[in-house]
């Protein structure tokens, strides 16, 4: 085996994996702050990308203004989702909330389709398509930028969850009733977690939109994002980063070996296998919290 080739596969896999992490952080944020799996992150990511485009192309703003402004809009949307949809379900069985987020995802997809149509639009971030050379290894610049964004968000949220607001969010995830009893505003906390996830969705939407174009397919990232989030442990941001890298490398290297054997398409199989095996063997993932049972 050619070591240069193998490391190229691994490095590019890891970078792509960090882009999955970028998406998965949105899932983890909501779970970490409310113990609800957020299946709407795909829809949110797509809406995030479309809002950036709407501001940049349709209203003619420069991207450096359109992206932060889209983040503000999406922050508000996140709060709105809690206020309109989730608040009524607080304290109800998780299954119902899960279904609600899935419905939300479908709703967001339908809305973007109705407003912006189905044709793919390009983000045009202005990042060069010329690959970088690391010795003999090719590296995509946009992937490098996206991986940097993922790591920056990782650091930011690690710090955030040590602040008083962050601790309150973790408390909410632990026990709604106990949170209410000491005056924590559970509603506002859940709203904030969705707002932050929506901001992360803008980042993921911009990077993935640049890579594969802005269209309905963006919402399909949910499958890989969910796999990364589950593998990392649904409530661990560190887990999302590590699991993203692992999945990216396994997928890229594995597909190289498996594709010739099965005639292509093994990427999806690898991702599915990772998801299923994680849930079967290690349901709380690599770094997820266990439910504590004292004996």
């Amino acid at each position: 085996m050619d070591w240069v080739f193998l490391s190229e596969l691994a490095i590019n896999g890891a970078l792509t994996g960090l882009l999955y992490s970028l998406f998965a952080i949105g899932l983890v944020l909501v779970y970490k702050a409310s113990s609800v799996p957020n299946l709407a992150q795909g829809g949110l990511t797509m809406v995030g990308a479309y809002v950036v485009l709407a501001l940049a192309r349709d209203l003619g703003m420069p991207l450096w203004l359109a992206i932060p402004l889209a983040a503000v809009v999406m922050f508000g949307l996140g709060f709105g989702i809690e206020r309109v949809a989730l608040r009524r379900l607080a304290g109800r069985p998780v299954v119902m909330i899960l279904m609600l987020t899935l419905g939300l995802d479908i709703f967001l997809r339908g809305t973007t389709l109705a407003i912006w149509g189905g044709t793919s639009r390009s983000m045009e971030l202005g990042v060069s398509y010329e690959p970088l050379f690391l010795g003999d290894i090719f590296i995509s610049r946009i992937h490098l930028v996206g991986a940097g964004v993922a790591l920056a968000l990782f650091v930011a949220f690690m710090v955030f969850f040590r602040t008083r607001t962050g601790i309150k969010l973790r408390a909410i995830a632990d026990d709604y009733m106990a949170s209410w009893s000491v005056g924590i505003s559970v509603e506002r906390g859940v709203g904030l977690s969705w707002a932050l996830a929506s901001v992360v969705a803008v980042a993921a939407g911009v990077i993935w939109g640049e890579i594969q174009g802005v269209d309905q397919a963006l919402s399909l990232l949910l499958l890989k994002g969910l796999t990364v989030a589950v593998l990392g442990g649904l409530d661990s941001i560190l887990g999302a980063i590590v699991a993203g890298i692992i999945l990216g490398v396994i997928e890229n290297v594995g597909a190289e070996f498996l594709d010739p054997l099965v005639g292509g398409g093994s990427r999806e199989l690898i991702v599915a296998a990772v998801l299923i095996l994680t849930v079967m063997i290690r349901p709380h993932g690599l770094f997820g919290r266990h439910d504590i049972e004292r004996v």
């Binding site: 309150k168 408390a171 026990d175 009893s181 000491v182 505003s185 504590i292």
Partner: protein, 270 residues
């Protein structure tokens, strides 16, 4: 007489009725007064309506689809019957809910931080934490371990400490002795008494362990079947033969042939 008593009360609850799911009447006209700086116990058996009474006061009923269908609750002279739970905490009512319910995946220190009011400055919070660690030295030792792995007694202490961070003037505790060894119950009750004395904190205690509760409170209410069936000073309750027999496990000794046992109990429940 009644007027005067209300003037000194921090909490006055008048003929409260609570409905769950709009159908189940859990308490049927309960009136409870807590004097400022006093310690009051609600006694009674399982399912009598003690917890519901506390939830009506703290506003946590809403989370369980219950609501107050009649009566009013005044806290420090303000009508709080319809107020949001969060607002009541800000006003100074804190409810230590049944079963300890600490934030298991947080450290004890983070548990205290989580309960801090948003307006409390960093330095105020650390003063407050030090005070709580002084009351509960066991917590100080384990402040950075995971709360879920603390012992039952330590978790109860943490639950009380967490409530104290909200700076309550009325602390309500639901069965703090549940599942704890007697020496721990004595330790925790002793600390509660100390806080009550030193800070003038009013305490409303729900207990099945009447023996332990009547040692530290000044008065008590006996609730059965959603109604207050008896009210008096701790001394009076302790010497009441019915209470002795049914709740303190003693009195004239166990006489199974005493038919009056049933008729006496029936008298309250009717």
């Amino acid at each position: 007489m009644q007027e005067k008593a209300q003037g000194q009360s921090i909490l006055s609850m008048n003929s409260i009725e609570v409905l769950y799911d709009n159908v189940m009447l859990a308490i049927k006209g309960v009136s409870v007064q807590v004097p400022k700086g006093g310690m009051v116990a609600l006694l009674g058996s399982n399912g009598a309506g003690k917890s519901t009474t506390l939830k009506a006061i703290s506003g946590l009923l809403k989370a369980e689809r219950g609501h107050i269908s009649r009566g009013e609750i005044k806290f420090d002279g303000t009508d709080i019957t319809e107020m949001l739970a969060q607002k009541r905490v800000e006003m100074g009512i804190c409810h230590v809910i049944e079963g300890r319910r600490v934030f298991e995946h947080l450290t004890p220190d983070e548990n205290l931080t989580a309960a801090a009011p948003m307006g409390m400055s960093r330095s105020e919070l650390s003063v407050e934490k030090d005070k709580i660690y002084d009351y509960f030295p066991r917590l100080a030792e384990r402040r950075n371990s995971q709360a879920g792995y603390l012992s039952g007694g330590e978790q109860q202490m943490l639950a009380i400490g967490r409530a104290l961070v909200t700076q309550p003037s009325l602390l309500m505790l639901d069965e703090p002795s549940l599942g704890l060894a007697p020496f721990l119950v004595a330790e925790i009750f002793g600390i509660l008494q100390k806080i009550n004395r030193e800070e003038g904190l009013s305490v409303l205690l729900v207990e099945q362990n009447a023996l332990a509760a009547l040692e530290i409170v000044s008065e008590g209410y006996l609730i059965e079947n959603g109604r207050v069936v008896m009210h008096g000073t701790a001394e009076a309750l302790k010497s009441n033969s019915d209470i002795q027999e049914f709740y303190l496990g003693g009195g004239e000794g166990a006489n199974f042939h005493n038919v009056k046992h049933y008729s006496r109990r029936k008298r309250w429940l009717s």
